[in-house]
C-alpha cells in the first residue's frame, strides 16, 4: 500500500514494486555492455595509459620530470592530492552523516557516492607516494623499524598524521562500502544464470541469505560504522589542512584552515557526486531513483558549503589585515593582484559567485544547468588548492628566491591520468556492481510517497496522482497504516 503526502516529494517515482527495483538495478549488471559504456571506457583507458606513462617517467627519471623548483616545491602534485581527497569526502558524508541524520533520500545515491570516495582516495594517494621520489620505499612512513636500528617515524609531523588519516579513511570507507554491497551481491547471485556469474557473485556475497538476525546485526554495524566515520571524515581533511596550517609559510599559517578545508571538501565532493549522478541516471536510465528532488537537495548542500567557503576566503583576508603581520598581508594581496591573479579570479568566480545561482529554484531543478555548475565548481575547487599552495610558496620571506611555477607535460599527464584512473574504476564499478543500494531503496519503497503527517488528504490525493495499491481497485480510497 503506497501513501501520499501533500508536503513531501516522493523519494522514488514511477510506482515501483520490490521486484521492479531488483529488475532495474540488476539489469545493468546482467545486460551486455552498451556502446556508450564501451566508448566511455575506451576514453578512460586512454587516459589510464597516460597515467602509467607519466608514472613511469616520474619513477624512472625522478621528480625532476615535474615543473617543481627550489621555491615552489609543492605544486600540482599536492594540489591534485588535496583536490582528490576533497572529492572523496562527499561519499562518506552521504553514507555516514546523512544516515545518522535519518535522511532517507541518501539511499539512492550512497552506493555510487561511496564508490566515488574509494576511487578518489586511490587517485589522491598516488600523488604523495610519487612525490616521495622513491615510491618503493613508501613503507618507511609506517612505524617500521629501519635498518639502522630503532629510529622511528616522527609522530609530531602533520605529514605523518596524513599517512594515518588517509590509510584509515581508505580502509574504513572500503569496509563500509563492502558491507553495504553484500546483500545486493546476494540478490544478483540468486538471479544469476551463467556459471561464472553465479560463482563470482556467490564469492562476493559472502554467503548472505538475508536472515532476520543477520539484518539486525547488519543494521547495528552500519550505524556504528556511520558513527565512527562521521568524525573520521571531518578529521581527514582537518589533518590535510594541518599540513599547511602548522607551517610558518604566510598564507598557510591560519587557524581557519580545518573548517574551511572540510567545507571545501564537501563542496567539491558534492559537485563531483552531481556530475557523476547526472551521467549515471541518464546512461543507466535511473531517472526514477535519482529524481529531480535528489538533484535539488544535493544542489542545496553545494550552495551552503560554497557559501561557507566564500566566507572563509573573506575571513582570511580580514585576519591578514587584522593581524598586522606584513608578510601575511603581502601574501594575500599578492594572491589577488600578483602574477597568479587569474587563478585567484577563477577561484572566486567558480566557487563564490556561480553557486549563488542555486538560490533560484529554476537552476536547482534544471539538469543541464546543474551539470554545468558542478563542473565549474570542480574547476574552481582545483584552483582553490592551486592558489593556496602555489601563490603562498612562490613569494616567500626571501625575495631573492622568488620564482614562478609552470607545470611540465608530465604534471599535466599525471593529473589527466588520475582522471582516467578514476573513470576507469568508476565505469567498471557501474558495470559489474549494483550502482544503487537495492536493499536500502526497498526499505523506503513502501513509504516512497512519504507517509508523514498529511494535513489535507484531499489535496494529497490530487497532488501526485497516487498509484493504486497493489491488488486494490484504482478508485480505492487512500488508507493510512499504523505508522501514521
Amino acid at each position: 500500500m503506497q501513501h501520499v503526502s501533500a508536503v513531501r516529494e516522493p523519494l522514488v517515482t514511477g510506482g515501483k514494486t520490490l521486484h521492479d527495483v531488483t529488475q532495474d538495478i540488476c539489469y545493468q549488471v546482467e545486460a551486455k555492455p552498451n556502446i556508450r559504456w564501451m566508448a566511455a571506457l575506451s576514453v578512460a583507458l586512454f587516459f589510464l595509459g597516460v597515467f602509467f606513462y607519466s608514472v613511469y617517467r616520474t619513477v624512472w627519471y625522478g621528480i625532476g620530470e615535474w615543473g617543481l623548483n627550489k621555491t615552489v616545491n609543492w605544486a600540482w602534485d599536492i594540489t591534485n592530492f588535496v583536490w582528490w581527497v576533497g572529492i572523496g569526502h562527499a561519499g562518506t558524508l552521504i553514507s555516514a552523516v546523512l544516515l545518522l541524520f535519518r535522511q532517507k533520500w541518501r539511499s539512492s545515491i550512497n552506493r555510487a557516492a561511496e564508490a566515488m570516495t574509494i576511487f578518489a582516495v586511490i587517485c589522491a594517494a598516488m600523488f604523495p607516494v610519487l612525490h616521495m621520489g622513491r615510491p618503493w620505499l613508501a613503507y618507511w612512513v609506517f612505524p617500521f623499524q629501519n635498518t639502522f636500528g630503532s629510529l622511528w617515524v616522527n609522530f609530531n609531523s602533520p605529514l605523518l598524521w596524513d599517512v594515518f588519516a588517509i590509510s584509515t579513511y581508505f580502509t574504513v570507507s572500503l569496509v563500509f562500502w563492502y558491507i553495504g554491497l553484500i546483500p545486493d551481491f546476494a540478490s544478483i547471485r540468486d538471479r544469476a544464470k551463467g556459471t561464472i556469474a553465479k560463482f563470482s557473485y556467490s564469492m562476493l556475497s559472502f554467503g548472505w541469505k538475508g536472515s532476520a538476525k543477520a539484518w539486525s546485526r547488519y543494521e547495528t554495524v552500519s550505524l556504528i560504522l556511520a558513527g565512527v566515520s562521521t568524525p573520521l571524515v571531518l578529521s581527514v581533511h582537518t589533518i590535510v589542512s594541518m599540513d599547511f596550517a602548522t607551517s610558518v609559510v604566510p598564507g598557510w599559517h591560519t587557524t581557519i584552515f580545518p573548517p574551511y578545508f572540510v567545507a571545501g571538501a564537501i563542496f567539491s565532493g558534492f559537485a563531483m557526486v552531481l556530475t557523476l549522478m547526472l551521467i549515471t541516471r541518464v546512461v543507466f536510465r535511473l531517472e526514477d531513483y535519482i529524481t529531480l528532488e535528489h538533484i535539488a537537495l544535493m544542489n542545496k548542500i553545494m550552495m551552503v558549503t560554497g557559501s561557507i567557503v566564500g566566507v572563509a576566503y573573506i575571513t582570511e583576508f580580514f585576519i591578514a589585515w587584522y593581524s598586522q603581520v606584513e608578510f601575511e598581508q603581502y601574501a594575500f594581496i599578492n594572491r589577488a593582484t600578483g602574477p597568479y591573479w587569474w587563478a585567484y579570479a577563477s577561484m572566486m568566480t567558480c566557487n563564490v559567485i556561480t553557486p549563488q545561482l542555486v538560490w533560484f529554484r529554476r537552476v536547482r531543478y534544471s539538469i543541464p544547468l546543474t551539470f554545468i555548475l558542478s563542473i565549474i565548481v570542480n574547476i574552481g575547487m582545483w584552483f582553490e588548492r592551486f592558489v593556496i599552495i602555489v601563490t603562498s610558496l612562490h613569494r616567500d620571506y626571501l625575495p631573492s628566491s622568488w620564482a614562478m611555477f609552470s607545470p611540465s607535460i608530465i604534471d599535466i599527464g599525471l593529473y589527466l591520468g588520475t582522471l582516467g584512473l578514476f573513470f576507469t574504476l568508476f565505469l567498471l564499478f557501474a558495470k559489474f556492481f549494483p550502482v544503487i543500494n537495492m536493499a536500502e531503496v526497498k526499505t523506503i519503497l513502501k513509504y516512497t510517497v512519504d507517509n508523514g503527517p498529511t494535513y489535507n488528504p484531499q489535496k494529497a490525493a490530487h497532488a501526485h496522482a497516487p498509484q493504486p495499491a497493489i491488488g486494490a481497485p484504482a478508485s480505492a480510497p487512500i488508507t493510512y497504516n499504523k505508522h501514521d
Binding site: 520490490l18 531488483t22 612505524p143 636500528g149 630503532s150 629510529l151 622511528w152 617515524v153 616522527n154 609522530f155 609530531n156 609531523s157 605523518l160 598524521w161 594515518f164 588519516a165 590509510s167 584509515t168 580502509t171 574504513v172 569496509v175 563500509f176 558491507i179 546483500p183 546476494a186 540478490s187 547471485r189 540468486d190 538471479r191 556467490s202 564469492m203 562476493l204 556475497s205 559472502f206 554467503g207 548472505w208 541469505k209 538475508g210 536472515s211 532476520a212 538476525k213 543477520a214 539484518w215 539486525s216 546485526r217 543494521e219 547495528t220 554495524v221 556504528i224 560504522l225 565512527v228 568524525p231 578529521s235 589533518i239 594541518m242 537495492m438 536493499a439 536500502e440 526497498k442 526499505t443
Partner: protein
C-alpha cells in the same frame, strides 16, 4: 546433515509481521525469516535480542586508543627520544590525531571482523538458500520439520491462514 523445512512465502512485510506473531503464539518454533531488506519490528516479533556489537565496538576502540598512545609514547618518548621543533619527547597534543585515527581504525575493522565471524559470512562458491526470491521481493519464513508426516500439512494450513501465498517443502544440507 539434511534437514527438512516448511517454507512459507509472504508478499508483504506487514502480513509477515502478523504471521510471525501468530505462528509463535500458536507454539510453533520459527527456524528463520529471510527478507530482501531489514523488516523493522521483526526483532521483537521473533524474540531476537539486541545485538551486543556496540559493546564490542567500544572495546575495540579503546584497544586502538591504548595501542596508539603506547606506540607514540614508547617510540618517541623512550625508545629513541628526539627533540623535534623544541617539543617535549612526549608531546601529547601532537599525538591526538594518530590516536584518534587508530581508534577509528580498530573500531571499524574489529567490528567488521566480529560481524563476519559471528554471522558466519565468508566467501564461498555456492550458497544454499531457502528460496531465491528472498533476496528479491518475497519474505520467506522457514520452520524446521520433524519426522511426523502430518506436520507439514498442519503447518501449511497455519501458514496459509496467516497470509502465506505459497508453502513449499525444502531439504537443506548444512544450513
Amino acid at each position: 546433515m539434511t534437514k527438512r523445512f516448511a517454507v512459507g512465502i509472504f508478499e508483504d512485510e506487514d502480513v509477515l509481521l502478523n504471521a510471525v506473531e501468530n505462528i509463535r503464539a500458536a507454539g510453533v518454533k520459527i527456524y528463520d525469516v529471510f527478507s530482501p531488506y531489514p523488516v523493522h519490528g521483526i526483532d521483537d516479533a521473533l524474540g531476537i535480542e539486541r545485538s551486543r556489537l556496540p559493546i564490542a565496538a567500544f572495546f575495540f576502540g579503546m584497544t586502538g586508543l591504548a595501542f596508539a598512545l603506547w606506540l607514540q609514547i614508547y617510540m618517541l618518548g623512550f625508545d629513541w627520544p628526539m627533540i623535534i621543533g623544541g617539543k617535549p619527547h612526549i608531546a601529547l597534543p601532537a599525538f591526538i590525531p594518530v590516536a584518534f585515527e587508530l581508534t577509528v581504525f580498530f573500531t571499524c575493522h574489529g567490528m567488521a571482523i566480529t560481524f563476519f565471524t559471528i554471522q558466519g559470512l565468508y566467501p564461498r562458491p555456492k550458497v544454499p538458500v531457502m528460496d531465491v526470491r528472498a533476496t528479491d521481493d518475497k519474505f520467506v519464513m522457514a520452520i524446521e520439520l520433524d519426522e511426523t508426516s502430518s506436520q507439514f500439512s498442519r503447518l501449511t494450513q497455519l501458514l496459509r491462514e496467516n497470509g502465506a501465498s505459497e508453502v513449499n517443502q525444502k531439504e537443506m544440507t548444512n544450513n
